[in-house]
């Protein structure tokens, strides 16, 4: 025990500094050079001359579509957030900021916010660890049928959420569910009510999300791992680093940017969790005591069960603000990491 720590401490001292210094100068420069030469080539071929004339025409389809289906609904929802909007009515009552102030004092909104973050935590963090683990298994060159395993990882991702929800709903059944059955065999005295209790229901939903996105994220990590230059591992081998040390001091630091990317995408997805709690609970309120009501589900409930479109629009604006705040935090962290990399 003492021997191992000593050795790893020694490895720590020796390896990372050496390896990184030799590895890093090469890495950021190579793509830069590539980009520059590409740019020059493009100008020489005369594409630049065409740009002013045709460029906008070529990008127009996207922007027209975006204006119609992206921007217009956004502006409309901001507009109706100031009204007591009756979905099928003819006359709308102006409300001013009432909807917004109502959201802030609505306990159900805060419950939804809490649930959303709880589900996000249970789905993103374990998922990331498992995805990195899976990716390092797949990275192993001695693995037979690598393409097969990589393909099969994506299957959950293309399965319909509804089908997943039905299957998981049965797995997590209180009385006859397979999960509880398995837990009983493992010696759990009591059955867990996976749907009615807040924390277990969050775990159940997080499991659904994890099952669906694990393979996808594992592939992203795998791609990032394959891009790590092999000479890093070779020199680490020469230095006598163990597999774990190689993972800890080469793979993980090299994955930093990918981890940030997966975290950002996961957070944005996590704030929009909708289909899983909806189908698991079978109603719009996210379980009988709102135990797994999420932000988007709460928005939907207000719009389509209570027919309060203006209020729902106000909730939507708050969700946007929350996403913006979290994106800003993510952005700051990413920049921090990037500057740390540059300083090395």
């Amino acid at each position: 025990m003492a021997g191992t720590t000593e050795r790893s401490a020694a490895a720590k001292k020796r390896k990372p500094t050496n390896v990184f210094k030799s590895a890093h100068p090469n890495k950021p420069e190579r793509p830069k050079r590539g980009k520059k030469s590409e740019k020059r080539l493009a100008t020489e071929n005369g594409i630049k001359a065409l740009n002013p004339k045709w460029g906008y025409t070529f990008v127009a389809p996207f922007f027209v579509m975006f204006l119609i289906f992206g921007l217009a609904p956004v502006i409309f929802s901001i507009w109706i957030a100031f009204y007591n909007w009756d979905p099928l009515g003819d006359e709308q009552e102006f409300y001013g900021f009432t909807n917004f102030t109502d959201v802030l004092v609505d306990e159900n909104f805060w419950i939804a916010l809490r649930n959303t973050f709880s589900i996000w935590f249970f789905s993103t963090i374990p998922q990331m660890i498992m995805a990195i683990g899976l990716a390092s298994i797949l990275r192993n060159p001695r693995l037979k049928g690598a393409t097969f395993w990589r393909t099969i990882l994506l299957v959950p991702n293309i399965t319909s959420v509804l089908a997943i929800a039905i299957v998981f709903g049965q797995l997590f059944g209180r009385d006859f569910g397979l999960v509880n059955l398995a837990l009983t065999y493992l010696g759990m005295p009591a059955h867990i009510d996976w749907i009615a209790e807040p924390l277990p229901s969050h775990v159940a939903i997080a499991t659904m999300i994890t099952w669906r996105w694990l393979g996808y994220n594992a592939l992203i990590f795998l791609a990032a791992m394959l891009a790590i230059p092999s000479y890093l591992y070779e020199s680490a081998d020469l230095d006598g680093a163990s597999k774990w040390q190689q993972f800890r001091y080469i793979t993980l630091p090299q994955l930093k940017n990918t981890i940030t990317f997966v975290l950002i995408v996961g957070t944005i997805g996590g704030l929009q969790v909708f289909a899983e709690p909806l189908t698991l609970g079978g109603n719009m309120s996210g379980g009988d005591s709102r135990q797994f009501s999420t932000l988007t589900l709460f928005l939907y409930e207000q719009a389509f069960v209570n027919n309060r479109w203006g209020y729902a629009a106000a909730i939507g604006i708050f969700i946007t603000v929350i996403v913006l705040i979290i994106s800003a935090i993510n952005f700051a962290i990413t920049r921090q990491i990037a500057s740390e990399d540059n300083n090395k």
Partner: protein, 428 residues
Amino acid sequence: MNRKTSIRSAIAVAVIASLSLIGIQPAQAAKIQLKIWTFGNVIQTPLEKEYERLNPTIDLVIKENSMDAHHQSLITAFKANTTPDIAAIEVAYSGFFRSYPKYFQNLSGLVNESDYLDWRWDQGVGNDGKLIGIPTDVGGLQVAYRKDLFAKRGLPTDRVAVGKLWPTWQAFINTGKTYVSKLTAAEKTSCKVKKVCYGFIDNAGTMYPAILNQGTKKYYESNGTLIYNTNANVKTAFTTTATAMNSGISTRINQFTSDWNAGMMKGVFATVLAPAWMLDYIKQQAKSTKGKWDIADLPGGGGNLGGSQLTVPTAAKYPAQAKAFIKWYLNPDMQLRIFKEYGLFPSASKLYNNPQLTGYKDPFFSNAPTGQIYVTGAKQLRPIFEGKNQRAIDNYFGQALAKVAVGKMTASAAWADAVAQISKNIKN
């Protein structure tokens, strides 16, 4: 030269191909695609096929959804003018859509008003008096119970005797307590350690709408004023249900879940408050329990849960064909057939004296005269006004009751919670 001919022949092939495509298409397009949006088992597939056989020019395109999702997509469809030709509207949502009659076509004169149950008919009349929907079935409510389990716990099994056990809801709860007290020791402890929870009724929460619908008013006065917090009927339904939840007679299994299906097969609960349309579901899900079930009267008089109307939206593409289908599908004779084949109880009161209906016995439910039982129940019912946001209010009371069921709140705290939630969220 050579190249030109090849181009010509290529063009010729393309023209012929496109002509033949055009040629094929009219034959298919000649069929009128009548779009029907529905939920649950409102339109039976075999009858859909039969109608297409009888009317070769009509192709019925049916989109079936879950109940809430169906009505929600209808709202957006109305707004976007992309409605189907026929839309089913459930009673719980009738109050909402009746507030917007301009989105529906007038159906008066399509069928004979006097053939139908008056209060079910009224649920299809818009707030401005326009007839917007024709009633499909009546969700007459009775108690389906397991004879074998009743016998095991020393309760009577004969349906008349069983009905006499519970003239009132309190008596129903007391019967439940007796039943639960006679469970085997293993079954009782099973619930305490949260394994399979044996009980008398599948879910006591289902008592709430049953009791509520026995009154004359729910959450709204007929002029649209909200009275959910002052109407004694609502309070009674709420407190009685809460009492049942606290008395340990419920398994707390939610209906239409896999646990419910399994529990039905395994005899985890002995009673289900069963609307007529649920009988078919029980038959499908618990085939092996055939002959073990019977049907008794609902405590407190007749009951109703569910039922719907078929409507033709204003933006329908083929209104004439839509009306023709509704006329065919909802006329009293067809309603009788639908009852015999699929168990949906007719809203055509003209049939209520018809021996084919009153004499109908169901072998699955121990040859219970289901026709007669549900007719008696439907006749006892009084019309009840369904308000605009009734479904949403139902949800809040349901959520409050669920908190009582899991022991998170007392009945009075839950009541206060529900009223506070509704007053905050429902404005009209």
